[in-house]
Amino acid sequence: MIKITNLEKFYRTEEVETIALNKLSMHVDTGEFVAIMGPSGCGKSTLLNILGMLDDPDEGSYVFNDIEVAHFNERKRADLRKHNIGFVFQSFNLIDELTVFENVELPLIYTGVSASERVKRVEEVLDKMQIMHRRNHYPQQLSGGQQQRVAIARAVVNKPKLILADEPTGNLDSSNGNDVMELLTDLNEQGTTIIMVTHSEHDARYSHRIIRLLDGQTVMENIMV
């Protein structure tokens, strides 16, 4: 599904150039659950942003579903993104002005799904995430665990092929964290590819494979059993 080769990304300030990704190569197959780990500043988030097509690499190749996307413009990337990729953030990033239902509905609006179909699909996914009873609440009225479940519902409502999760349990207690990991595992078992950045060895154990980064390079890959 994903194949990146010799990917490079630099950050420049006026005087210093920092290498975030240094000739990084990796691949992820369809249906995999991959965890990316590494210390702060190792390039995990940069990698995730590039994989999510929120950012483009300076050098190297990124092939997504057999399409070279490394130098796509913003519009093309946005188009590819909204149909194929769902995001889950550490800080949930729900829109405060919208209700649970409306937050989850948003990706469907942007992909032009009809209103009746939207209601059906949002209700379906809210049901699955067991937050149907909260559908008319606003994010501030929910607990952290509930907010993250809404965020996951929003990420999967469009039935993306790939979910990118950036420390999805980082703001949660362990019990809520475990629930979220169970949810992601379920999604993976139903066929969604998941790439997750995490600091937690515990969470990483839910994955099939751990890629460890240091200074923008892969230093180790662990295959989980």
């Binding site: 999510g52 929120l54 950012d55 149909h83 990033n93 829109i95 919208l98 948003l106 942007y110």
Partner: protein, 810 residues
Amino acid sequence: MIKNYIKTAFRSLYKNKGFTTINILGLALGLLSCLSIVLYVVDELSFDKYNVNHDRIFRVNEDLKLGDNKVDYAVAMPPLAKTMKAEYPYVLEATRIKTAGTTHVKKGDLIVVENHIAFADASIFSVFTLPMISGDPKTALKDPNTVVLTETTARKYFNTTEAVGKTIVFNDNQNFKVTGVIKDIPKQSHFNFDFFVSLESFPDSRSNEWLRSDYNTYVLLKDKDYAKQLEASFPAFLQKFSGAQMQSELHMSYDQFEKSGSYFRMNLTPLDDIHLKSARTGELGPNSTVQYVYIFSAIAIFILLIACVNFMNLSTARSANRAREVGVRKVLGSSRQHLIFQFLAESVMVTLFATVIALFSAIALLPLFNQLAGKEIVLTVQMFTWIIPVLFAIVLIVGALAGSYPAFFLSAFQPIAVLKGKLSTGFKSSFLRNFLVVFQFGVSILLIIGTLVIYNQLNFIQTKNLGYNRSQVLVVQNAYELGNQASIFKQELTELPGVKATTMTGFLPTSGWKNTRIFFKDASLNQKQSMFPQTWDVDADWIPTLDMKMAQGRNFDKNIATDSSAVIINEAAAKFLGFNDKAIDKELYQSLGGKTELANTKLYHVVGVVKDFHFNSLREKIEPVVLKLGQNNGALSIRVSATNLPALMSQIKAKWSSLSPSLQINYSFMDQDFDTIYKSEQRVGEIFVVFTTLAIVIACLGLFGLAAYAAEQRTKEIGIRKVLGADVTSIVSMLSKDFVKLVVIALVISAPLAWYLMNKWLQDFAYRIQIQWWVVAAAGAGAILIAVITNSFQSIKAALANPVNSLKDQ
């Protein structure tokens, strides 16, 4: 999708109630001011447009220059109208109007004093659109002793508009037949009369004199393009018709007259220009000036711009708070266009709310505005046919304008940058926002300086030594109604304790009575040395009663027989004639009309020079004045002592009633009369103050909002500074410094501009103030003070906050 935009917009506005209130309030205030001014300007521009043929109607004027005397008249020669109609095929109709002055009209046993009476040719109804309710407009004013009334006047005298055939009595014994009732003349007319009396009733109207001008004359052309051709033909026309009279009376041909440096010309004023652009001698009523239309339009645009700027500033300042939302939406697949539309929808919604509020408050405040502007604007259903579309356009334009910058600015955010919280520098870095704040305060300072200068000038006028003392002078305006008994009344009043002096004449510095005569400097009657002074009949008590001072010579003396041929001139006249300080005993020959020869003159000798006194508006220089001893019972002026005025007043009223039981005394105080001369300036001053205040309030609202966001943006910085030992004062001054800097820049830019513009305005006054440095200093200090106070609300709040909370936030 649209539904989603509106929903999000509404919720976002609701959530940020403070911000939304400031925005809507600011915009509503701006739109309200704008709307009120638009109504004012539209009203000013609509004058005389009620005439179906308004673009084809022209007034014929006469310009006269005789030696150094120059007068531009709004009136023309008695035979002009009929001659023009006969002479030019494209002059379809010509008509004359002549004001009749104050007239007594009988209503049962009552006598009503009417001031809005005019003589008019029968053709008036073919030129102007004055729809007749009853009567035949073609014949209504054809015969002598006929009169046409307005609807209101007909009701007043006959309780019905079916007044045709009835009789109305003028001045006790003149019977006039009502031959028509017209609809009331619209307020937006340069003339306003209640009665039109047929000019046929007035023998002078058949005069064939071409060397005098006293009829307001209007022509209706076949096409407005004939105006140029018509004006070009005037010199030949004048030569043809007035040449003979000029030869016999002035002993010179038309060409010689022009060669001697004098002239006698005619020109046209389009009807549409009369209200705003004409200020000639002999206008049918006070006109306005186009200058104020420009000034107020500029103010309206400025205020609206300030309000828009607020919107833009506040929205972009808030951008950091909305950045996350933008980021999330982009991650979820929103395109830039979607976001732009979303933000535009939001600003159009705010504008819509504001417009609705502005419209309703404009309607509610219209009576107040009318009072302020001295207007009688009425909102009609017909007006809404343009107001609503205009407002709709305003909603879209202002909404798009105010929303465009935030829309494009916010939608351009890079999602990862904002989701990572890298956008906190958003506030400080905006050059555009600083520019906009400078603009707002620049305009505010401009308006403050403008207001101060106008007020200083008005104050200067109020307190200027006018050459006479207008306080404690009671003027009985209808003294002439006592007829022969007027002098008895004067005598009786003089004996009252508390009355210091009395003078009987209608010629007063505040009365606006004018009377121009021609004087020659010596027996050669050289018209190059002629003078066109105001020539006033006064009595020997005039100068003492008005508390005027003599520069040379003496006042009139009843006991000196030769004073019947004595004159007192003012300093301006002495200077004009070259007498300077040796004016006493100099001779003056007054022309009595007819041929210019000694037999047609009267010889006067100068016995005194009175110090210059103002009798025109201070816009104009003091003209030469010649005072003669004469009988004029136009008004009785009484200098009274300030003590126990009410008692004195009732004594004066009692004296009046004993002489004339059926007539009401009509009096005023001279200082009030004086104030009415400056009413238009006073009005403009007041309007200026109101709108300047509004502009400043709107600008402050914006600054208040900006300060709130500035403080919010820097919460963490403030927290760290406090932890490191900064005190509240240093933090407040740190936060205020940025804004004060901007206001100072605004001052530097707008002060010279204001100086220039206000000096231009002052040029209109012959007597004016110099703009003082402190005016600019005060405006600047005021603006800075306002900025600091507004700002400190927010910065003190921020500075007092517990740093632990702001630091924990991250």
